[in-house]
């Protein structure tokens, strides 16, 4: 019986690569679409303004991708499990501001690795709280995290402070300045690729490893695919819920500190409001908003695409107010393409 029933499933024309099969292949590999959009934007912008092809631009985009990328990896893990998190910017703001304040006022000599560790732990605690609430209340995670976002923001501004920190701790400032790569262009201007982009690289590899090479990673996708079935098969939903939100919180904590280190100031009003942009980046990278899919490589490409659009449009004379419209068109485009995959 296998012969007869399985025939329906195999793609019919293996002998020739038709347009249809190429299209199908594309739908199964959403990051390719994202990559194509990146290439398209580069070609268009680069043709209109050849200043685009400069190493400094590349460095700028990479530098600007770090905080977004850390956020996006966390969002990816939550989305893959079928949830959604909008509280990560609030967590990041809280952690970055509180940690900066504590280190400045109490332990000015604290080394950077310890600061990162504290920020990660703090973020993970907030995230775990999200996870516990989502699991215990059996409530939609969007609603729960909107709630926690407001509470965390309000708590930060009411009890911790609203003043800017212009003088950040020495170890953080130094960390933000370490160069990974320095480039001198023909006209003598120097551009620097900061070493903290490595933080994103490490986070990406770790996230990939967790999602693809551990049981919890597969459990995240299993729960995202169908929570009822996953539970019946013995996957512990509580563990998965707490893990995904704690992991998103952990990355948000690190992202907060990275934000301070790269901007050399801590503003409690920063970061808030960028949630949708990050979620959009992850969806542009091929993750479905309904859960159970998404990849690290796609997410990174989605982040690069969003950063690219926000950074380079100015080069071709498009006012920055148009950025959002273009990102919006990309999102609708990607959403349409990826939903075709669902219909088949």
């Amino acid at each position: 019986m296998t012969d007869t029933t399985f025939n329906g499933a195999t793609p019919d024309g293996n002998d020739k690569v038709s347009l249809g099969s190429a299209w199908r292949w594309l739908l199964r590999h959403p990051p390719v679409v994202t990559f194509a959009l990146i290439v398209l934007v580069c070609l268009v912008v680069g043709t209109i303004n050849t200043d685009f092809w400069q190493v400094s631009n590349l460095f700028d985009i990479l530098r600007a991708s770090v905080v977004r990328g850390l956020f996006a990896l966390g969002v990816l893990v939550v989305l893959a499990s079928g949830g959604i998190d909008v509280s990560f910017t609030a967590i990041a703001a809280f952690v970055m501001y509180t940690v900066t304040m504590l280190v400045t006022n109490l332990l000015p000599g604290l080394p950077m690795p310890v600061i990162l560790l504290v920020a990660a732990a703090g973020g993970a605690c907030f995230g775990a709280l999200n996870g516990v609430l989502v699991h215990a209340l059996r409530a939609p995670s969007l609603i729960v995290t909107i709630g926690t976002q407001y509470v965390i923001c309000s708590f930060l501004l009411t009890f911790v402070g609203t003043a800017l920190f212009m003088n950040i701790p020495g170890s953080m400032e130094a960390f933000g300045k370490v160069a990974l790569f320095t480039h001198q262009s023909a006209n003598g201007s120097i551009s620097v690729l900061p070493a903290f982009v490595l933080v994103l690289a490490v986070a990406a590899v770790v996230t990939w490893w967790i999602l693809e090479r551990t049981l919890i990673g597969r459990a995240v996708y299993a729960v995202g695919g169908n929570p009822g079935i996953a539970e019946r098969l013995g996957y512990n939903l509580r563990t998965v819920h707490i893990f995904v939100f704690a992991y998103a919180g952990l990355l948000a904590g690190i992202a907060g500190v990275m934000h301070v280190a790269s901007n050399r100031l801590a503003n409690p009003f920063d970061l808030a409001g960028t949630e949708l942009e990050i979620i959009a980046a992850v969806v542009l990278g091929g993750a479905r908003i309904t859960g159970g899919s998404g990849s690290v490589i796609g997410t990174l490409l989605g982040v690069v695409l969003i950063t690219l659009v926000s950074n380079v449009l100015i080069l071709v004379g498009i006012p920055s107010t148009w950025q959002l419209a273009i990102i919006g068109v990309f999102i609708v485009l990607a959403g349409t393409v990826f939903s075709l995959r669902a219909k088949r």
Partner: protein, 528 residues
């Protein structure tokens, strides 16, 4: 091979297989909000035996399965494995003890690959449900390959990495079975395994069960299909109303006896169809084709006629039904109703033309489960129920729903109750009632009694007959051959997208119909 418990050395502490059953269920009780679903059920499962847990929908058999597989705890009673009480089982503990379940919906994770669906459970069990573990990819692949080979599925890399939601139903079921036997299964529970399968695939399933049995694995079928129980054989454990009413060897009893125990009613295999009165020409389907589904389908029928369409899952029968209803329109060809071209391009066209369509999967395609019965019934005629200012006239809506519920004998205290509070048979009647509100000229019933118990089937068949007697044309698409023989005037058989044969249903032997259904593929299947 992987079923080493029974094939190899006896289990520790197991002195005599006959003396200590593998699983003993003792006086299990369970209530849901004051309703006693299980009122003390006991029976034993011996290695290498086949059991059929039989009963109508709502008799408690599903609840019992959930308790055995660890999905729900029992309120009272004991489970003993190899003679030792196991207390409350979790899903992982049940799996570790060798109890594997093939759920009715297959319970595959749609977004994961075949290899993951088959092989992950074993790793989860090995980790005792703990998730902070590295994935052993090589081991997962080996497990999957071995299990897939055991159910005659391909083990190529391409197949292993296919997402399960891209596969046809019958393949998904085999994957679910492969998962069940991938680890050391000692009892495989199959929850209504044949609902989504045609007779052929059932035969393959029976072959697999035979091989499991030879390895000392016990198999427990949960079912209400008497024919299959009879052809598979083994022991029957029959439940009614939360209690075990009988336990016996199936071979010693007739279908009528088993059916009586299940329903408490005497069953009848006689034809429902009698003295049909045909009216004018009603429907003319002319050269209807849909790429990769069916080609050049033509037939006509008259008012008051009941036409059956059957075929294997891949025969195109499902797609044909959907095309007539406009759900997935045909590429070419015409559908005429009363001589008028009504070829639907979308479901609303079919409704306007007077074609009612009761889909096969009433849960996902048909009903709004959480919504009241009333809303489910009146939804196609909402604009006719408009009162002052275009607002829905609640009283007329309720009256219509009440009439419909009465007419179709839906058992419910109130039409405001949600549809999900009803049993399968009653849900199906609500769905039929919905389409009767548009006074259809043609009613297309797609698998009208899938997942419906024996007693409810009778009611539905009587309704179908009455509708035809009143002059409606009825098309029944089904793989339940007896159902077609009992109800239709004519039966058309589809193979590979074409109508290959048509029979007068009266005096037609089931065996003849069955052979017409499977002819072309018989050679492939016997290779198993």
């Amino acid at each position: 091979m992987q079923l080493k418990h029974e094939a190899g050395a006896p289990h520790p502490g197991e002195t005599s297989k006959a003396a200590i059953p593998y699983l003993e269920i003792r006086d299990i009780q369970k209530s849901f909000g004051g309703v006693r679903a299980l009122k003390g059920v006991s029976f034993s499962i011996e290695p290498g035996q086949i059991y059929h847990l039989m009963g109508e929908n709502g008799c408690g058999k599903s609840t019992l399965i959930k308790i055995i597989s660890g999905a729900q705890p029992a309120d009272a009673g004991e489970l003993l494995i190899d003679g030792k009480p196991v207390g409350h089982l979790t899903p992982v503990a049940a799996l570790a003890a060798g109890i594997e379940t093939v759920y009715q919906d297959f319970s595959l994770l749609p977004n994961l690959s075949v290899a993951e669906n088959v092989g992950l459970t074993q790793q989860l069990v090995a980790a005792s449900g703990k998730l902070a573990r590295r994935l052993d990819l090589a081991h997962m692949r080996q497990t999957a390959e071995r299990a897939l080979a055991a159910v005659n599925l391909p083990t190529t890399r391409a197949f292993l990495s296919t997402r399960t939601d891209e596969l046809p139903m019958a393949t998904r079921q085999l994957i679910a079975i492969a998962r069940a036997i991938a680890s050391d299964a000692r009892l495989v529970i199959m929850d209504e395994p044949t609902t989504a399968l045609t007779k052929h695939e059932v035969d393959n399933l029976i072959g697999i069960v035979g091989r499991l049995r030879a390895k000392g694995v016990a198999v427990l079928f949960v079912t209400h299909k008497l024919d299959e129980c009879k052809s598979i054989g083994g022991r029957a454990v029959i439940m009614r109303d939360g209690q075990k009413v009988a336990e016996c060897d199936i071979a010693d009893h007739t279908k009528a006896e088993l059916g009586f125990w299940m329903t408490g009613k005497v069953l009848d295999e006689a034809r429902y169809r009698s003295a049909p009165k045909f009216g004018d020409d009603l429907l003319a389907v002319d050269a209807l084709s849909l790429k990769d589904a069916f080609a050049n389908v033509s037939f006509s029928m008259r008012r008051g006629e009941i036409v059956g369409i059957t075929g294997l899952l891949d025969s195109g029968r499902n797609e044909l039904a959907r095309a007539i209803a406009g759900v997935v329109p045909a590429d070419t060809g015409r559908i005429r109703l009363n001589g008028k071209d009504v070829t639907p391009g979308k479901p609303a066209d079919a409704i306007d033309a007077g074609i009612g369509y009761v889909p096969e999967d009433r849960l996902s395609e048909g009903l709004f489960l959480e919504k009241p019965i009333e809303e489910n019934i009146v939804v196609p005629v909402l604009d006719r129920l408009r009162g002052a200012f275009g607002i829905l006239d609640g009283r007329r809506s309720r009256d219509l729903a009440k009439r419909s519920v009465e007419d179709l004998q839906v058992v419910t205290p109130d039409v405001a109750n949600p549809v999900q509070s009803l049993s399968g048979g009653n849900q199906q009647r609500v769905l039929i009632g919905r389409w009767l509100t548009i006074n259809p000229k043609l009613l297309v019933l797609h698998g009208p009694t899938v997942g419906v118990d024996v007693g409810s089937k009778d009611t539905i068949y009587r309704i179908i007959q009455r509708l035809a007697d009143e002059g409606m044309g009825v098309i029944i698409i089904s793989d339940d051959l007896l159902e077609l023989l009992q109800n239709c005037d004519r039966i058309m058989v589809m193979r590979k997208g074409e109508v290959v044969e048509a029979f007068q249903a009266e005096a037609l032997e089931e065996e003849v119909l069955y052979r017409a259904l499977v002819e072309e593929t018989t050679t492939v299947r016997t290779a198993l």
